[in-house]
Point group: D3
Chain length 334, copies 6
């Protein structure tokens, strides 16, 4: 079986009707359907970082189906076909596939900035923490190699904002930079707690999201969620600080940091387990909202690449998370 | 200083105007006020299991005030005084006091049933668990003496329902009995998970509530809450099961039990971190609601002792948690 | 015209493309459309107890159309045809048809348990009522043959839970069994009122729902509803008790039973005309909710027959009535 | 015992401190309290049509208390006393009393217009109904002397709008006049149904409200409510029409009229059992709202008599039912 | 190029499959799509006053596309084609077109009543205003020819109610007639303010809506809205009254009229900038609601022309703005 | 009459019981009450920048009362008196008084920072605007002396946050500094529009609030509100820009700035006339919220001066605007 990297990859965005396809793709939502003649067939989505298309394989052995990942990577051969004004892929063969790092870069959407550059910037900001206990706590997290690897890869969300590899890091760094700029304007705020709270607030997402294939939620993400997960992670690591560094955390530090994690969605109906009840928790929840909303608004109203379809009007489609459509023209254009 | 138990206690319910008072009481919400002449004075509530009255000490040294508990126990001497149609206590002296077990029984409201009897009944039901892993998990909890001591003392709520010492145990036992009666009617439900979920669902309250003096919330109760606390407690204890008993828990057991704890308030606006998403979690959240509501309805509409003030109508005051006033007459009276 | 029962019925679930079809079916939502050439055509759904398919008859005399039932039973001949990835039936002929009892059993979904067996169980429980007045009232209902016939046939809902012939009886019986198990745990509850309230709570559905053909609402169901209907039915029958049995009902009995009927949906936004305001009304509304939700959760997460399409994931589709998708794995599987 | 009418009544509005009081009053919310010395005392409100004051009788035999009405009429002797910046009445004696018609006129607030004049106007409008069946139905109601007596006395609400004797008739007449003026502008509306619906929409209030003493709800009003009550009243009377007049009602007439009664509060959260689903039901619900809101707004912003306390600003207090305070100045004053 | 009026217009309602089409149409939502072969194509809607159809031109020069209006008028030639059970138009040519008055009458839906007749009726009612200042203000509006031209053309809404040319005038006139009939029943209401408030309440819609082609919102309508627009228009015109007529407006007149405009949607969630806080503002907001709802209810339940598709049931589709489906039968039919 | 400044002012915070009082105070909520003997008396609040007390003058001529301001300044003589655990002032004389600038500084709470210093800082930031049209618009506002005088005095709110003289300027400057720090992090945002939008967003408050005496709303504030007021102010001034400076504003500039003003409360239920629909409007609404919430949180949890009453617990009272009580301890205290 030839590897996909053996030849220049052909991206889904560029597919034409009636084109022969072969290579490695993300497979998503793989299901076993039944044709009218009661024969099993495979329904799935094929994805790469440029888009997705429905796939069908009209004959498949259920035994073999069980070996395929529901969400994962496969090597496929098949042919594109126009269907109801769109394309779909009729598959001739499909095989489970363990992708190389290079293949994954072609399959999953990635953050525009290099991950290591962002991570260094984040570590530099955390290095400005003043309290030795908090500094030791940050160190315990930064020294946790598997967690940091996950942190660098994880998207910030399944969809919505920063929904690409490295997005969680990018969003977290963006928040730290915001706090860095704002904290001097409110001298009564405890900057250490704000920065540490922002660093930790979404780390539970590394266990909530699946991001080594099509982005989705883990069972634990659905039933426990990143908010409680993040509080439990801090519970474990706070014990490590004392064990590993001998450094004592201030009496209320874990309490107020867990509170920031639990309250950063601000309202129960948005998923907060508590309403923010310290000045720092209030600031963290508003900054999180600010970065997410401004990111979404700019992505929709002023995208880097114009949409392939020119809608010809002054407004975008309704953006559900922003509850409105957005006005696109440059506000100062003549 | 004479101890309060040296003589028959005189209860707050029985106080008369202009009566000399001495003995041990709960002190609650102790504050330092300032008189119009800018002299510091003590404002507080004095409580025992029969009621509460405001207390004032018109002259107090702020240094001494700092030694008094905000919520706790004190030995006081003073005199009752009619004030705006009610009584208050003018204090001549107040001293911090470490109460004996017998004194606490006179100070805090207690469950009508004996605690140990209820605990034996609960242990007997948990002994009917079938899965060896869950049985081992129950054992880890039951063998944790400090936790079980707290569990036997803790009220089920600060006010509302089962708001007395032993109330959490009484409420939990009531739920286990309900589940015991109902599970046979729904054979597809996993009885072990239902029983274990009910046993664990409110255990975080032992860290959320202060109940060794006037009932109130701990800082941790306010900022983290019993729901997340209960999930963290299970996180720790699940690791103990494997370490201590060698028994392996089924792959998803901790996940679905944490989910039951996190979802047992059923809706985010009532404090749930997740919406119940397994049949067992759905049953647990409804049973919790059923026992609380029926308890409150019966306590309001059909109290054990008639209220000292006879309202003379067929309806109770509005019960806020039930969103209505209740009809009191026996429905089948002639 | 041959009767459908003359040969083994071929069920909709088993239809293949391009198959000739003849037999008796439910017809539903029959409408007169117009083709682009302005010719009238018949649009409808054909149903049996195993499923439903769209039907089209491309030429029909409007006079004849008026003789067809909008919701009812027809004898049809036609041919299946693949259409947009699904089947539809192109009809050559369609005739109104009065179905036999046997045909109806094949056309409408039915409760798995035999109706008479459930009814006997229900009558036995009602026989344990202690108050002679309530017993007489139950007798008036049980002796009303047309009503009891309807009660045995009626589904509990148009869709959602127990949505099949006999479902109302099954749901009511399930609730009586629940109350039977629970009432001993709350001795202050009036068991007679709880049982009688549960027996009556949904009887208005016999006039709200159409269930002798495709399930739908009657005009009266849409404009008055089963809740008020049930209260009116009790108004009439309470007068009968005195007239027919000479037995006097306690002064408040009709009042609290009508209140249970009017309040059993618990909140105005769920259709309750009053918020439950007696302990018994509170219990009835929670039990009704409990049985409906546990039924729906088990049906979705642990169906008797695996769905024909294997979704391959651990969660069901979102269940709108439960506001979430459900976790399907056995919680104690290794 | 002298009767109150033997001398000119002294009204509560005119009471001075330290004045001797004797005469017939409404008593309301009569309760048995306990003094600090544990002696029973009577707490109540005394009312006449000009206002209300708290009453206290510091010594009362509980046996005697049981003979007093909780809500009703009493002959009292006592003395006014200033208390916390207001007056209260210290009672020396209190006796149950059956008031004469003349006394009731002095005790309960009454509609400014004469009742019989309004009733004739209402009957004249109903006489313009065109359909003989509806005319017969109106006749059955108008010929029901006890109901019409109640209809003429009943207030339209316990508080809020038209909260005085005759208020229900006044409000109903106001609505009929509105409909009379508006129906010609919407010729497709069925005027007979609109007028009949308005006549019937609040008649259940005659059984919901207590209005022969201080206005309050009956038990039936609390547990069933005037909306369902009105539908049941129509259920009974529709059968009477056929029995008594031989006149047949059109097939859907009872259905759409019950629907108007059940839906006239327009939304479930305002008490509607159904959302208005006919053009006539929609109009009735909006007209009911219009008359109530305009009545309340004019009563608050442009009262007949200026309030005794001149608030000195341009806005009224917040009117809860209107969700705002109202601007009082004449909009066209210079 | 032949003009469309050169021959009898063929309306969209009457199109048949495979028919050659030429003439002037509204074009709406014109977009540039890309085919699978990456060639630009035109997607749009074609409309006349009888309906709308999708249009496609499979090859188009993007330069030329930029000359076409996104919303406007075009002369097209093409052919109808059946597509997914409906028709679409495949265009061979399309040209921008400036329509004549006669063409516009065929392209946009219009009010059934003649515009000038309605306008005269409206002016006659405004002539009954009594206060000279308000009369002068009305005159300033009526003398503003461009505004009145717009007022006569503008629809009352983009969809929902009175959504056709002249609809705003028709709706406003209907409200003035309602007020005319109702004001005598509430003598304390200031009739001048009610009439003037109704005349002005929706005039901002002339700048919010695009109605010289397919109805839609202007950018200003989306970002500012007709409610604030109407308040600004009054701000400008009130200054004109003094300048042009020397007439002084009463001190609070502009204030209460702006308040009526800002509050006529009654609740913030329906777009009101303020909650109605004068009796006149309350009446205006309820009348606006009354006319809109009764209009929608009659249009749905009792349309002038029966729908081409006979649904065969007693209820309409759910009417979203009325939150229910409507019962269609004549309520007094036998 | 001696002026208050003739001697050192005695502030309300320092009043003792039974102290003779004379001097200038704010009077607020002045009303005419009636004593039990039906004699008119004056009820009011007396305020200075340190607090407020109730005032009573037991005998007053209603004619004279009419000359007193409801909200304003008075010279009073009287005596303090203990009343229900607090002080009130019994007035012997009261006279209207026009306060000097120095007196006003002692009467109204003021911003801690000097007004002119803040105003210079604000002007310097606006000087960094780049677009000449926007610069000209800023100039028109800055050159409007009466408006700028008002802007420097006006509080940011009647209560809640920055509720003191100069508070609006302080809040606006705080927002401009935030934007200055944040805009570089989002290069696609139009900094000119953000800064200008923040400058203008609350300027309507200068007409909404009364702040030359006790803070309250103007009639115009109640009925129109600062949000629409600000949009009208911009409407007028945009016309001035063209007239006065010859500078043309970009086509959409007024539109997007009015939209920012109208949408800066973000949701209709918080008073927004539109939902923010440009990236700049979204940022402005979040920053406004951020500054208000952080200000309130810090003021409550970490006040400059400890409250005179030491509550002795770790939490503040519930802060309604923040929906919670706040945790007060230093998060990093040992």
């Amino acid at each position: 079986m030839p590897t996909a990297s053996a030849r220049a990859r052909r991206f889904i965005r560029d597919f034409q009707p009636a084109e022969f396809i072969s290579g490695v793709f993300c497979i998503s939502n793989a299901q076993l359907g039944r044709t009218k003649n009661d024969k099993p067939f495979l329904k799935c989505l094929l994805k790469d970082k440029t888009g997705e298309l429905p796939g069908r394989m009209w004959s498949i052995d259920p035994e073999f189906f069980r070996k395929l990942p529901t969400e994962g990577f496969v090597y496929v051969e098949g042919e594109t076909q126009a269907y109801q004004g769109d394309l779909q892929v009729i598959l001739q063969s499909v095989q489970p596939h363990e992708p190389s790092i290079d293949e994954m870069r072609e399959l999953l959407p990635v953050c525009p900035r290099p991950v290591e550059e962002m991570f260094s910037e984040l570590a530099a900001i955390l290095d400005t923490l003043r309290h030795p206990g908090l500094k030791a706590l940050a160190r315990v997290y930064l020294d946790d190699a598997p967690l940091m690897t996950a942190f660098k890869q994880c998207p910030a969300a399944k969809s919505m904002h920063h929904a690409y590899l490295g997005g969680l890091l990018e969003h977290t760094l963006s928040l730290l930079n915001l706090a860095n700029a704002i904290c001097p304007l409110y001298p009564k705020l405890n900057r250490d707690i704000v920065l540490m709270g922002l660093f930790l607030h979404d780390l539970g997402k590394t266990r909530e999201l699946v991001y080594d294939r099509a982005f989705s939620y883990t069972d634990r993400g659905e039933l426990v969620g990143h908010i409680v997960e993040g509080a439990i992670m801090l519970h474990d690591r706070a014990q490590q600080v004392m064990r590993q560094t001998g450094q004592r955390l201030p009496r209320n530090a874990v309490l107020v940091l867990q509170h920031i994690i639990l309250s950063h969605h601000s309202q129960p109906e948005f998923g907060a387990a508590k309403i923010p009840a310290t000045p720092e928790a209030i600031l963290v929840s508003i900054l999180d909202n600010l970065d997410a909303r401004v990111f979404m608004a700019l992505a929709a109203a002023r995208p880097d690449r114009a949409s392939p379809v020119d809608l010809g009007g002054n407004f975008t489609e309704k953006q559900w998370a922003l509850e409105t459509k957005l006005f696109k023209p440059d506000p100062l254009a003549e």
